[in-house]
Homo-oligomer: 272 residues x 6
Amino acid sequence: MFFHRQVLQYKATPEKPDAVYARKLQEVIGGQYGEITVAMQYSFQAWNAHMPGKYRDLLFATAAEEFGHVEMLATMVAQLLEKAPVGITEDAIQKDPTVAAIIGGTDVQEAIAAGAGARPVDSNGNPWNAGYVTASGNLLADFTSNVNAEMQGRIQVARLYHMTDDPGVRDLLSFLLARDTMHQNQWLAAARELQEEGNESVPVPSNFPIKKEHREVSYQAINFSNGAAMGQGSWASGPTPDGLGEFTYIDTPPEGVPMPPPTHPDARFYGT
Amino acid sequence: MFFHRQVLQYKATPEKPDAVYARKLQEVIGGQYGEITVAMQYSFQAWNAHMPGKYRDLLFATAAEEFGHVEMLATMVAQLLEKAPVGITEDAIQKDPTVAAIIGGTDVQEAIAAGAGARPVDSNGNPWNAGYVTASGNLLADFTSNVNAEMQGRIQVARLYHMTDDPGVRDLLSFLLARDTMHQNQWLAAARELQEEGNESVPVPSNFPIKKEHREVSYQAINFSNGAAMGQGSWASGPTPDGLGEFTYIDTPPEGVPMPPPTHPDARFYGT
Amino acid sequence: MFFHRQVLQYKATPEKPDAVYARKLQEVIGGQYGEITVAMQYSFQAWNAHMPGKYRDLLFATAAEEFGHVEMLATMVAQLLEKAPVGITEDAIQKDPTVAAIIGGTDVQEAIAAGAGARPVDSNGNPWNAGYVTASGNLLADFTSNVNAEMQGRIQVARLYHMTDDPGVRDLLSFLLARDTMHQNQWLAAARELQEEGNESVPVPSNFPIKKEHREVSYQAINFSNGAAMGQGSWASGPTPDGLGEFTYIDTPPEGVPMPPPTHPDARFYGT
Amino acid sequence: MFFHRQVLQYKATPEKPDAVYARKLQEVIGGQYGEITVAMQYSFQAWNAHMPGKYRDLLFATAAEEFGHVEMLATMVAQLLEKAPVGITEDAIQKDPTVAAIIGGTDVQEAIAAGAGARPVDSNGNPWNAGYVTASGNLLADFTSNVNAEMQGRIQVARLYHMTDDPGVRDLLSFLLARDTMHQNQWLAAARELQEEGNESVPVPSNFPIKKEHREVSYQAINFSNGAAMGQGSWASGPTPDGLGEFTYIDTPPEGVPMPPPTHPDARFYGT
Amino acid sequence: MFFHRQVLQYKATPEKPDAVYARKLQEVIGGQYGEITVAMQYSFQAWNAHMPGKYRDLLFATAAEEFGHVEMLATMVAQLLEKAPVGITEDAIQKDPTVAAIIGGTDVQEAIAAGAGARPVDSNGNPWNAGYVTASGNLLADFTSNVNAEMQGRIQVARLYHMTDDPGVRDLLSFLLARDTMHQNQWLAAARELQEEGNESVPVPSNFPIKKEHREVSYQAINFSNGAAMGQGSWASGPTPDGLGEFTYIDTPPEGVPMPPPTHPDARFYGT
Amino acid sequence: MFFHRQVLQYKATPEKPDAVYARKLQEVIGGQYGEITVAMQYSFQAWNAHMPGKYRDLLFATAAEEFGHVEMLATMVAQLLEKAPVGITEDAIQKDPTVAAIIGGTDVQEAIAAGAGARPVDSNGNPWNAGYVTASGNLLADFTSNVNAEMQGRIQVARLYHMTDDPGVRDLLSFLLARDTMHQNQWLAAARELQEEGNESVPVPSNFPIKKEHREVSYQAINFSNGAAMGQGSWASGPTPDGLGEFTYIDTPPEGVPMPPPTHPDARFYGT
Ligand SMILES: [Ca+2]
Ligand SMILES: [Ca+2]
Ligand SMILES: [Ca+2]
Ligand SMILES: [Ca+2]
Ligand SMILES: [Ca+2]
Ligand SMILES: [Ca+2]
């Protein structure tokens, strides 16, 4: 069960309205790596978890916090839009270049569809969709996905930080950046702990009988391009991170095998 | 520039057709973590890379290989569909339960739209879309995304391995599993190397001035649920993976701050 | 069968071109509540209707009118775009702030893809999709959906009215506003008539055996947030609109029941 | 802020697994009218609300409950999938027709992507997307949208009730049906109260200066089809629900006005 | 303006219900090349047309017919679903393999969401979307798109013809096949006439100053693969269809030019 | 197999950055008719081809070239974005109208999500999706689709040519225009050759037994609108392009047939 309390985790009030910035902030609400994504992702990972206890508890705890992040950002967006002009006259444009900037820079659906409100979309107006969510039932893979999500999210917030001078907005972003720092660290710690406790290891899934894979190509760095430096990385020689082999470097891909002949399905498929 | 050679990296021929399995295999062609995703993701990461040299070379090399994986799987799907029946009579269903199974188990668009061919869609027929792609310009974040993609992909191939008995299909999957093993290891090695060389570190992005974030909440594990075990993980106490702090555990979230008052936009937005 | 006549229901000619406004108008062509949505929604409701006669006749009649509304708006958009500049020089921007405004404010695909024409997309360029359509086979539910669609649509047109000074555009919007007024009234009348004639009633679907639902929670207003005023509404006490009960107010949600233990699927799913 | 408690609002345990039914249940998790939609819709309506007090409190309260409904259904789905077979042999199909049924009837991504877990998608595997959400800033319109959502949702749950014999599943559905009954009643009550208190009225938005619309067509039932019964409804004569007019019936649409001439954009758009 | 008449262009009644086939028929209603696509495509081409007269008249005429095709197919689908079972018992499956077939073969949303009705989706349940529509303002390009659409559509209907034995369904398909034959011929004739009248020619757009393109590569068949037969086609030597050149064959692609150095955007984008 | 070489087919360097134009160029990378579409389309056509030899060789050859076109454009976009400002101050806007133009004219996700890099999306930020791809297994239909794709693509590039003055950008576009010229010619030649060799003919699919279609309507130009000029085209009289009939013109559509009665599905679908 989820409960709501009419407070915010942190203050979310801009110093002044800025409809152009409101659009940009949509990215971290409803974008690929916005707060809706992590809230939904951690929720589904928790619901699909197979081990009770600390990992699942962590997922539930963080999921609920992320819904609160959506709320802070939506609240911020509504305030940034509060003084958004409905219509803009030709005169106003001629007199003030800022007005010209506003015309193209705002999310017109925030005005037309939401009446100066936040929306579950990204900064280009694409509706959030569940194709962004990862919840495989394998926690090492999913925690790695979570580390990535928090990295991407923190990068985006850091970029957004420099796109405004508003102290109120920056203050909220500073809070979110700190929480992203925590969440990066937390998922890294959880992924490490999972492995130390022997729940899972690289290559994921570790309990697939590894002999069934073609081991002769499991550690080959094959250069399908012609970059001369490809062989200089730690992925081209030396022990592999999974501790099970040694990297080798193949500068020219093997010949390959002949393609099978083209198929000939039933004539009533009317192929040529 | 890309060049094509009319061979396959590995043999991709089923022992016999299986239209039901053809549908399942679509997941690793055109699904969220299918081969199209990694091919496109590594390509865009390479095109957006800022450092010449080994990392970019690795991206280009792997991207090109992944397009070849799409090809092997598409070739396999076409063969699995080769004997797919066009129509199925009531009689056939009554006589053979396998026919009944085929009816619902196949991707009907592989028949109706592609004429018994592969399609750039997932196993539920959702068209592949670029919302699956991550290419942020920050390599540590992106390599982490790549590790995740190869983990998720390998899990899916491992599951698919058990959904068929066909030796030809399994042989191809064994090859792909091995390459996923390589790619997991390779991105892990590359992410480690990036950090060792001082290009980037956790929290990503590391060069955002960390003092600007609210450091007092950067390492707090806050329990927004009521799982009793949340405080038992390595994310709740001890040093943080980024080496910059100590985790603390907050069993009950702080009070929060009052919500700002609701907004009052221009009356011509016709809100209530 | 549908027939087309090369006239418009109402005059749709702007006084002068305005490529920025053309983009905004796309919302009511191809947006969630644009004319394509209602045209398609009423059509599918008619095709799926189970009662011949007045309700279905009304659906067919209104559906056909709505396709004509798409046409008026598309015609308007093409004219608003007629003088849209192909390219814009740096000089032009420096000399005239309006030109700067145009750059970001227009739908670039109206230019690049449609050659200064209307498109079946919304004001952010999202293609119209059938996920907007509701046609359940239950007319009371669907007429309620229609009332909502006409309310949302009229709100959007009203907002758009204030975003232009062009008398020609406003004249068309005034016509569309009036038809939205009609359609709001019409679906309200039809929903009322359906109930008066005993075809359906609240709670929809009324012929589901109501004893099979957990009646003890059918009229409880449960406060899953902490808003103090929640209990002050007519939904918290007094008779219910369906005439079958009395509202009660539950300020603190019941304890809930324990979660079932996590699942343990087959090991070959490679969960953790 | 949102908080999570590791209990369910109601018991959600099936008597036995049923992977085919698990797929169907996805509709009310991640479909157009599933629980994710209402949870997100009520949340955004609350965040965009302009009046503090009872209406907003109701939105917050109900939003949080709906997230708990997603959770109950996801929990149920995971259990229905718990014994889902990974692979199915030809032998098994030949021996048991139920096995044949399972092959096509299950959501293959629940297996391949989620490892026998719930997903934020509908029963055809379409990812949930925010194009389903309505939050206009106008509460009468939005409450009408909510009434519709609860009607559509209850219809779908009622249909699903008959698609299973499992007492555990039916028990949960009985609970959800009751809550849908409550929510239909609650939004109807709230919509009525909004009007009684003078916050808004039909036609929505009521404070758009009604004289600016073309009043001569505001109450005309125009028959753009040829259904003979169209004129028999209460929408064709008598007073209008908004109390502002009288319906009239127009059996044959007016002539219309000439289309404006086709446009001639700049030659560099390369039209014909 | 569009008008509807409550008749069908052709009889659309199946001999008996077939819920499995109803799903397949959705492809030509709401698929990429279904009737909704052509109806919308021809409508937008007409609205964006720049020449009055026969071409635009043809577009309007055909668009309206296509909406009627959607109607015939939707009507057919509803009838195919009329006896669709709501629930299916384990007993029924064990007794009749056809029941097993039905379970997986039907579109479950036709039942759950539409109550045994047609939907604006394809045979995999993907909602129709306007990304399928082409309307560029250039009629030669668009008529070519139309020829393709009618070819693809006719292929799909031909395939569907063999997926049923129902004489009523086949009769309707026979009608649609004939109309597709007409429409293929019609757009071919129109494309030819456009060129004969000098409105447009290959390469489209013909009035782009051809000297501005790099003419040295305008007729080179470059082999980026290694297929030995590539040079044997009429595209590798001889006069070009546009009448402006001679094809040449390049067996090995030119060397190419060096890539520009990677970019170095502002440090505050936090790239690596 | 695909191989990559770190060169470009043609020089792709702008004279100076232009973040506004970078957004526009996204259309031909990730739009409906962008380079990703043709690369993927030709690939899937090749993988689904049934005839070995020249046609398939041509498909493979062109597919690989198109992936290289994606690369040139992505490289160009990254350079156009290289100097894109992160944040823009109010002062800067007031001083320079160009800055105002930039605000709305850029793709904000190129900054926030990609860190000043190219993305697999169109010029309105819609992610590329596989619903754009056509690969039916019938080469005449598919080559016609390819002709259309190259026409639409060349039109878009021609429009884009006039939207910039940058010599470097124009130079690249001149190269792409030439290749589009080639590809239009090539697919036209291939379509002609397919027919001359007797592989396929109009109406596609030609081997569907034509007697099974309702031949009485196969060549009727039926006017479902009221355009007076519809009968003046070559589609209204004279021999048909397929050589199998004569066009006739029907000014008024036939009466049609009665609609079947509405359906009455099982009561447990809760229709009305
Ligand atoms: Ca967060
Ligand atoms: Ca791979
Ligand atoms: Ca309308
Ligand atoms: Ca609910
Ligand atoms: Ca048709
Ligand atoms: Ca190209």
